[in-house]
């Protein structure tokens, strides 16, 4: 595939149109062709794609010129905004009652990940809402499905209600409800058997379970890798059950997950959670804007640009770069730089916005506290020292004083000194580098490393994380 991502496609289109003050209808149509193909490759349903490109085109033609953005960038912005709105705009709320029993039913096709999700959801509710969860095994068909849930329950230390495989699911559901009330459970998750949406007898069974339980939530669990058929699946489940939300699983794969968008658009049912791995804590609330970025195949560069332009004074920035390149960068500049970064929000959050950096942030320890420590150290320096970094390099009593004044260790001060040096050096290297040589797949590959060496983690919970 020549163009893996919509962002690449759009950039190609943009390149063709640079210099144009206005985009003609034909230009926009051409861009929409790229948008269309890219969305189709992401498994967005073709009918949804059609509507989407039409809406974007109309908006693009209608759009007043925004100051600062050229016309093509404006189209990209419209695409992203529309995509986010399609995915539901804001993060959706899920039902969890603090005073009484919350009941949740998980439904879906075979192999979509219902049982694993049941375990994850139970753990999530216990952690986040101090709920007392109960898992109920209603899959009486698939061999060892009950056992799978029981094993998960054991791993999580969460009780599982089961009646083997000879009792009708709706009867088990009823008994489980009584049991939950009796034993003071506050969050009950019913794991139903996987079924095809066109299997009427099996869909009727779900309806009967629903009637028995009158659950607070009925979730459709959908595999993120699902193709065009996602729409048909969602329509059927929603049509016969009135689904209240969906959970997209296996998003830790390399699928673009366009099915999620189709599902949301066709049924109007909000996506509430997403599964991100085989570990039982790999469940998170669904964020539409992140998914929009994923389907587009670009990190949230726009937000990053917004943040940077909102918070950074261009003259200041240029000044600083010049200083760095000439090696005259001192602690006063460092302090200024830190303040700029602080205005933009948390470091970890910023890193996530950069394409390709999402993965890195998982491993690198980005600690906002570090900024506070560095500020404290710089503020413990004399004016002379701040202006002339060389003073500190040769004098250990100065460094000791700074450490004491800021409540840090001498080693921390040494690291700060090293850091300033590295920044200048890497900047010098960077300004010599040809931007075309940066590998778009791995933008960090040729970058000079400036992060302080990571200390090796000892035997902790992240040790030997084989499943990731």
């Amino acid at each position: 595939m020549a163009f893996d991502h919509l962002s690449d496609r759009l950039q190609m289109a943009l390149r063709r149109m640079t210099g144009k003050a206005r985009l003609t209808e034909k230009d926009i149509e051409e861009m929409m062709r790229d948008v269309r193909l890219s969305l189709l490759e992401a498994d967005v349903n073709f009918a949804v794609v059609k509507k989407f490109t039409k809406a974007v085109k109309e908006k693009a033609l209608d759009e007043k010129i925004i100051k600062g953005l050229n016309p093509s960038q404006q189209v990209v912005k419209i695409v992203r905004d529309e995509l986010r709105d399609l995915l539901g705009g804001d993060t959706a709320e899920y039902a969890v009652k603090s005073d009484s029993l919350t009941t949740v039913m998980l439904t879906g096709l075979q192999g979509s990940g219902k049982t694993t999700t049941a375990g994850k959801l139970a753990l999530y509710m216990r952690k986040k809402h101090a709920a007392k969860p109960l898992l109920v095994a209603l899959d009486v068909y698939r061999p060892a499905a009950v056992e799978q849930l029981m094993t998960l329950g054991k791993q999580l230390d969460i009780p599982v209600f089961e009646k083997g495989t000879d009792v009708k699911p709706e009867s088990i559901a009823k008994e489980a409800l009584a049991y939950a009330k009796e034993h003071g459970h506050t969050f009950v998750i019913f794991d139903t058997a996987g079924r095809l949406h066109i299997d009427e007898a099996m869909m009727d069974e779900l309806t009967r379970i629903k009637e028995t339980l009158k659950p607070d939530e009925i979730f459709l669990v959908l595999d993120a890798m699902t193709g065009q058929d996602a729409v048909s699946v969602a329509e059927h489940f929603h049509g016969s059950l009135g689904v209240t939300g969906s959970i997209i699983t296996k998003l830790d794969g390399d699928t673009r997950g366009g099915a999620a968008l189709s599902l949301r658009h066709v049924t109007g049912v909000p996506i509430k959670f997403m599964g991100l791995g085989e570990k039982l804590d790999a469940l998170d609330v669904f964020h539409p804007e992140r998914m929009a970025g994923r389907i587009l195949g670009m990190g949230d560069v726009m937000t990053l640009i917004d943040k940077v332009t909102d918070n950074v004074d261009e003259d200041d920035m240029m000044n600083m770069m010049e200083k760095m390149a000439s090696g005259k960068f001192n602690y006063n500049d460092f302090l200024k730089q830190l303040k700029m970064i602080k205005r933009m929000g948390s470091l970890g959050g910023l890193m996530k916005l950069i394409p390709g950096m999402g993965k890195l942030t998982k491993n690198a320890n980005i600690d906002d506290k570090q900024i506070v420590y560095i500020e404290a150290m710089i503020q413990s320096m004399t004016k002379q020292e701040r202006k002339n970094p060389e003073l500190l390099k040769r004098n250990s009593s100065r460094r000791r004083r700074i450490a004491q004044g800021s409540g840090r260790r001498v080693a921390d001060v040494n690291r700060l000194i090293e850091n300033l040096d590295q920044q200048m050096q890497s900047f010098k290297r960077m300004s010599k580098m040809d931007p075309n040589q940066i590998d778009p797949k791995n933008p960090m590959k040729n970058m000079p490393s400036q992060a302080p060496k990571q200390r090796k983690k000892g035997k902790g919970k992240n040790r030997g994380g084989f499943r990731f």
């Binding site: 349903n45 060892a144 085989e278």
Partner: protein
């Protein structure tokens, strides 16, 4: 021209296609039924029509690249043959499909199980139906008089070992497992030893589902593959990628990466009894030349069939001509 039409009109062809027509009724109606409507007599051929045709194929999850190439080919044909009426496109489409997927293609969908000890390895992402497929294949091979042993190579997912054990009891074949959490390669090693001792003909090896972008898990699979190859000459004799028919474009990535790691001999397309079309399997066939060998059409043990691409295309397009 005309050749395909004749082919379709023979009684035999109709009969052969019948099975697929029934099994994929929903698919045919929902997806390719649209083509029938689009290509009505008197409809002019324009850009909008091409786009609609594109969408019909994309709705079947056929690879976007493949569809674009197909429609491009149609555009050319329309020009060179000066076709004016949309109805005349029907035959062109069917011919193009045949040219792409059938002609000059002698695919042996039989499983390679005639060695003293044949080893079949089943791989795929999570939840595609590997375990159920193994049960069905075991059922098929036992009926052919083979002594079959299932190997519980998924030592990770909760309940996976027992799920396979229950199936082996239903099928009535041998079963080998080690405790949950064992190294899957060591499970294979011991299973091969056990199989030799008890004169087993065919070993069906289950593996844990894994997403193809998980490097460590793919390395684990590579090791499983390597160990089997070291213990039995030319094994695994079949490495089958189990693919859920509802899978979209990601199916191509799956096939690519699994093929790199384990050198696939075929694809098993599961859950074709739904409304999914499994078109991505056609794209895999075309792009990577990995044939679809088996299809799963339900949850019962005998809901498994050898895949016949010719019949599949007959079944899909027989309404058109």
């Amino acid at each position: 021209m005309g050749f395909i039409k004749k082919l379709f009109q023979t009684k035999k062809a109709k009969q052969r296609a019948q099975k697929y027509r029934i099994g994929m009724e929903k698919t045919r109606e929902r997806v390719f039924g649209r083509l029938d409507e689009l290509l009505a007599s008197g409809t002019p051929i324009d850009e909008a029509l091409f786009e609609e045709i594109e969408e019909v194929f994309i709705a079947a999850d056929m690879g976007v690249d493949v569809v674009l190439a197909l429609v491009e080919h149609l555009r050319d044909t329309v020009e060179t043959k000066a076709i004016k009426d949309a109805e005349d496109l029907r035959e062109e489409i069917v011919e193009a499909m045949f040219e792409r997927y059938v002609q000059g293609d002698i695919v042996d969908t039989n499983l390679d199980v005639d060695h003293p000890l044949s080893v079949l390895l089943f791989v795929g992402v999570n939840g595609v139906g590997k375990t159920t497929t193994i049960a069905k294949v075991a059922h098929l091979l036992t009926a052919q008089g083979k002594r079959v042993m299932m190997v519980a190579g998924d030592t990770f997912r909760a309940g996976a070992i027992n799920q396979l054990r229950v199936w082996s009891e239903r099928v009535g074949c041998d079963f080998f497992s080690k405790p949950e959490g064992s190294d899957p390669s060591s499970v294979m090693f011991d299973a091969i030893k056990k199989a030799r001792e008890s004169n087993i003909d065919v070993l069906l090896c289950d593996t844990a589902g894994r997403l193809q972008n998980k490097t460590n898990l793919m390395k684990e699979l590579e090791k499983i593959h390597r160990v089997i190859g070291r213990e039995v000459e030319n094994a695994p004799h079949e490495t089958l990628l189990v693919l859920d028919a509802t899978t979209g474009q990601n199916g191509m990535n799956q096939a690519k990466v699994f093929n790199e790691v384990t050198c696939l001999s075929g694809v098993v397309l599961t859950k074709l009894d739904g409304t999914a079309k499994g078109g991505i399997a056609l794209a895999i066939k075309e792009t990577l030349n990995i044939p679809i060998k088996l299809i799963g059409l339900g949850e019962k043990l005998d809901d498994l069939d050898y895949f016949d691409i010719e019949e599949y295309i007959y079944g899909m397009f027989s309404d058109l001509v």
